[in-house]
Structure formats: C-alpha cells, structure tokens
Symmetry: C2
DNA sequence: GTCGTTGCAAAGCGTTTGCAGCCTA
DNA sequence: TAGGCTGCAAACGCTTTGCAACGAC
C-alpha cells in the first residue's frame, strides 16, 4: 500500500502546521476547506488517523470537550491552556515537574497531562 | 418540582459513595444494578445530571476516554491517576502548585486539571 | 489501467430526550 | 390521586466504516 499525494492531504497538513495550536476536526474541515472546497469529514478523520500512525500528529484531549483535537508532533514537552471565554487552546511551554512525588507508594508514574484554564490575552 | 426518593437513586448514590473513585456510567449501572436489577442507563444519566446540579457529584474527564466519569464532590483539591494497565482511576492528593508561572503574560489562570498515568500498585 | 483516495450515506458509540406506565408522597 | 421517576426506544452529535466513483502514478 503506497500512499499517494492529494490536494486534500496537503491542505489538511498545511492547515494544522500553520495554526500551530490544537485544532478539532470541524476546524480542520473549515480551514482546509478554503483550499479544497467540499472536503468531507471522513477524509479529515482518515487523514488525522494516518497522521497519528505516521507520527507527525498527536492527539490533544480537552476535558469537557468530547471532540478530540490534534496538533503537530515533535514539539518540546508542553501542556495546554484553554480559554474559558473563547474556547481556543494554546500551547504553554514548561512543566511543573516532580510530579511523581504526588502518587502513593507502590504506584509507578509513566506520563502526565496538564490543562490550564482561564482567559487568554484576547479575552481578558 | 419536589424530588422523590426511589430505590434507583439511593443505589446509585450509595455505589458512587462506596467506591470512592471516579466511575463511569456503565460501572454505575453494573454496581447499582446489583441492588436494583434492570436499572436503565437513562435513569443513571438522569441521576448523575441531578447530582451535578445538586452539587454532591462532580465530573471527571479522562483524556482518551470519551466516557465521562463521576465522583463525590466536596473532597479536598486533588487530581487523578489512571492505570495504563487496568484502566482504573485513583485520586491522588496534593498538587504541584505555582502553575500560573507557566502561562504567557497577558493570560489569566483560573483553574487547572492534572492527570497522571502509570501503573497502580496492583498492576506493577 | 491499477489501486489508493474521496465523498456520501449508513452504522457505531456514548449521551439525551419523548413518552406511557409506575410508584412515592 | 397527582405528578415526579423509570425503562424503552428513538434521537443526537461525533467518529468510523462500506462502497462506488475518482484520480495519482
């Protein structure tokens, strides 16, 4: 199975790369749809799944939102900030660290996920 | 609209209180179903929604799981630990703190959510 | 021309809602 | 008895999948 280059795939990847923050499927459809009108949701879902497997995309799960978001992989370790007003999600660099001291003895920590909430610089 | 006490409501609340960790609707149905066989999912969904509004329940969102979990409200500030092996979720006391220093200037932090992953003491 | 890709529509999955009958107060 | 509560099934929103037409190579 050799993959082929199509306008849809190109537009989807270009859009996600360009916005540089986690985006959901509906946003991708809208964004990539400006380059390729009429793009179908199944195509976007298939593209992000392929991106995840290929390793250039990662999932971002936002508590309270049933819809999965996606962003480019390969960034430095970071977390996310969701604006309580406009709903946009931003990357935040840095990490509190030393989290393994929080867990009970006998448990082993392998990873963590942190989401901050508040108001972004536009909505303050 | 005066609420009435029913076996289902009692069983649902008793189960959630008893397990003392976040549980999903399917788990509640199974657990409460031992006291009240044949309990319907709609009843559980309506009960947890009522619990949220009444304030004795809080939602717990687990990244990567589309299903919302619930636990008793009123606990001290805490976070959650999900076992990568058995999938169970445990409360972890404590908090890294000083998170507002992570966000860009111009942003205002109002809240945060942290989930740790790894192996619980049973699955190590 | 081959066969991976696309868009549509149908199917899945968790959750919500309409409704007739049940049961608490 | 009144009207809130329950279970069933249909409806919903997001995501996945089947399928015939399309188009990259």
């Amino acid at each position: 199975m050799v993959s082929r280059r199509t306008d849809q795939q190109t537009a989807i990847r270009a859009f996600i790369q360009e916005v540089d923050r986690p985006v959901r499927v509906d946003e991708i459809m809208q964004g990539a749809g400006e380059s390729v009108p009429g793009i179908g949701s199944a195509t976007v879902y298939r593209a992000v799944k392929a991106g995840l497997q290929a390793g250039w995309l990662v999932e971002v799960h936002l508590p309270g939102d049933r819809r999965t978001a996606y962003e480019m992989a390969g960034k430095d370790h970071h977390h996310h900030f969701e604006c309580n007003n406009c709903g946009k999600v931003y990357d935040v660099e840095g990490c509190p660290g030393h989290l393994s001291k929080l867990i009970p003895s006998g448990f082993v920590m392998e990873d963590h996920e942190l989401v901050l909430y508040g108001r972004c610089n536009v909505c303050v």
